[in-house]
Amino acid sequence: MTVTSLSPSNSSAAPPAVHKRTDWLPVIMTAPATLALIGILYPFAIAVYYSFTNYRIVSKTYKVVGFQNYVRMFSNADFWEAMGNTLMFAAAALLFELALGFLIALLLNRSVPGVGLMRALLLLPLMVPPVISGMMWKTMLASSSGPVNYIFGLGNYAWFANPWSARFVVIFIEVWSSTPFVALVLLSGLQSLPKAPFEAAQVDGANAWFILNRLMLPMLKPFILIVLLFRVVDVIKLFDIVFATTSGGPMFTTTTIPILVYKEVFKSYTLGSATAKVLMLWVINYVISFWLASRWRKTAASIR
């Protein structure tokens, strides 16, 4: 049986041409951003160096002490309490922000009159700097001069004086100022979903839970992940709101690592050990974000 020649008649006997192109395009395109950020990496490297020294910013000399700052940090009860608070706040705030943001996105993902206005309103909390929104909420929640207690008839309940209500309020304020961002991203996610599967599901008489759980959430996953990716870093670095409302009290119940470190730098001056503590946050952020980012890549790829 004859098989037709696989190569065209006029092809030469010489080996095929090799196109070895060094692809400079990615390098060229990412170079500007890389350069800009290397500038930031440099002071960061200095900071990492400090974490291995006993640097006090009001002393003239300091020396490298190896891992002493880290070792002592791990046996420091204050550090662990602050770390617990940081993670607890982050988890609670993210949970509320996601749930509430998703509800808001669902609510505004329709075309009825007034939705445009609501979407614009949604931006308002974002525009109040967190430190200011912290102060404003502090006045609103003031025990006797605040409108919240007055309107809800709560007498003179001191929100910031009870360890648990103080925690709650800090999270609440954080949720108030950041949920709009979550809602916006999820809303644009909802808007980009294809209509067909939902119409089909409705025709099939699927219940709301099925639509939500099996259709909407899986398709929204990349959006949920990216919003987490941006929020998680900020809630772990939560500072402004705590600083403006409780400055870490009562006792240490709202002291987050950034608050602890801030006080350590500016009151105790021990920059070396403070930097070590805050670098732990960097590590945590790195790990969580790395995980989220790789999940995001995967999900995004599988959907495309």
Binding site: V3, T4, L6, P8, P16, A17, H19, R21
Partner: protein, 358 residues
């Protein structure tokens, strides 16, 4: 109008080799079809011709010129995409005009209008010119994407599965339209599809791609009549070709591995050596049902599917299942005993390890 020659191009993505030494050519005015299952490298080949991707090795000649690394806008090719790739922010008219106003093309305003008019009439989309792509049906979008290629006079047309997303009925009519267009335009065209019917009805010649390799490059009829490999046989024909593993015995007989049947292959034994392990390919349309006792295979009717114009009968002989396309008049029912006549000239033998035709 131009000629195209692909000379041993290779390309890999990450660790996967998408194309291995792919070569073929396309004569002036020829309609060349690239067929293959999904993932065979069809679109990558087309992209290398269009210039939106570049091969790592090999050369692409367009009109005899080496354009391997030339950017797409310098090649003057028109491509129709599988997803249509209509410009969502443009109206249909602007979609059609877009290639005519490119920095490369010099068309007078009246020429542009005239071309748009002609093409939209040809494709019956002249009523849709002011619509946005998202207001169109699938079929309409497909025609607009075709129109966007047809308004130009490119050197070569590239079609990437242009009708595979349409439903069966639309696909049939589009196939007809394409055939008619092909006759009237006689433009050099490379057409990618996974559907053998499109290949058979449209192509002058066919390139069969499988896992990045050219399995067969031949006249359309030859690909059907002389499949060069198991995979080619599997691709062409409906119902698909049946395959049986077996051996050639000393008498040049093919013996199925479970010895359910044997075929005297002496008249068709070119290249077959005794003891050789081979794969036998049979088309259900080529074998005939026979009364029990006659034919090379004896068995029992396993199932009968009535397809109105024909019957698809499955016969079971030991563990082997045979599909046979029979006329409707042929009345058999499940459980009947029957035989199969296999004309030796329709037996395709393939090497067991290389899957290549013998």
């Amino acid at each position: 109008m131009a000629t195209l020659e692909i000379d041993r191009i290779s390309k890999s993505f990450d660790s996967v080799q998408a194309l291995k030494n792919v070569s073929f050519d396309c004569k002036n005015g020829e309609f060349l079809v690239i067929v293959g299952p999904s993932g065979a490298g069809k679109t990558t080949t087309l992209n290398c011709i269009a210039g939106v991707e570049y091969p790592e090795m090999g050369t692409v000649y367009l009109d005899g010129q080496d354009v391997t690394m030339a950017p797409p806008q310098d090649r003057d090719v028109a491509m129709v995409f599988e997803t249509y790739a209509l410009y969502p922010q443009f109206s249909v008219r602007d979609n059609l005009i877009f290639p005519l106003r490119s920095p490369r093309s010099r068309h007078s305003e009246s020429d542009i209008q005239e071309r748009v008019q002609r093409v939209s009439e040809l494709l019956s989309i002249d009523m849709l010119l002011e619509r946005l792509p998202r207001q169109l049906s699938q079929g309409q979008r497909q025609r607009v994407s075709l129109g966007r290629a047809l308004v130009r006079d490119p050197k070569i047309f590239l079609f990437d599965e242009p009708i595979s997303h349409l439903d069966a009925k639309l696909r049939n009519s589009m196939r007809r339209e394409l055939k008619r267009m092909r006759a009237s335009l006689s433009q050099t065209t490379v057409y990618v599809t996974h559907d053998y019917l499109e290949a058979l009805s449209l192509g002058d010649r066919v390139v069969v791609l499988f896992q990045g390799e050219v399995l067969q490059f031949d006249q359309t009829q030859m690909v059907y009549n002389r499949p060069a490999a198991v995979e080619v046989g599997l691709l062409f024909g409906d119902p698909p070709m049946m395959f049986f593993q077996g051996k050639i015995d000393d008498q040049s007989h093919f013996v199925c591995e479970d010895e359910s049947f044997m075929i005297d292959a002496r008249d068709n034994a070119v290249g077959l050596a005794p003891g050789q392990e081979v794969i036998l390919g049979l088309r259900p349309t080529d074998v005939r049902l026979a009364p029990p006792g006659s034919g090379q295979v004896q068995g029992e009717i396993y199932s009968v599917q009535n397809q109105f114009d024909r019957e698809l009968v499955t016969l079971k002989a030991k563990e082997q299942l045979f599909d046979i396309v029979a006329p409707v008049s042929y009345a058999v029912t499940e459980g009947d005993k029957a035989g199969i006549i296999i004309p030796v000239e329709v037996c395709y033998f393939f090497d067991k390890t290389t899957h290549r035709a013998i």
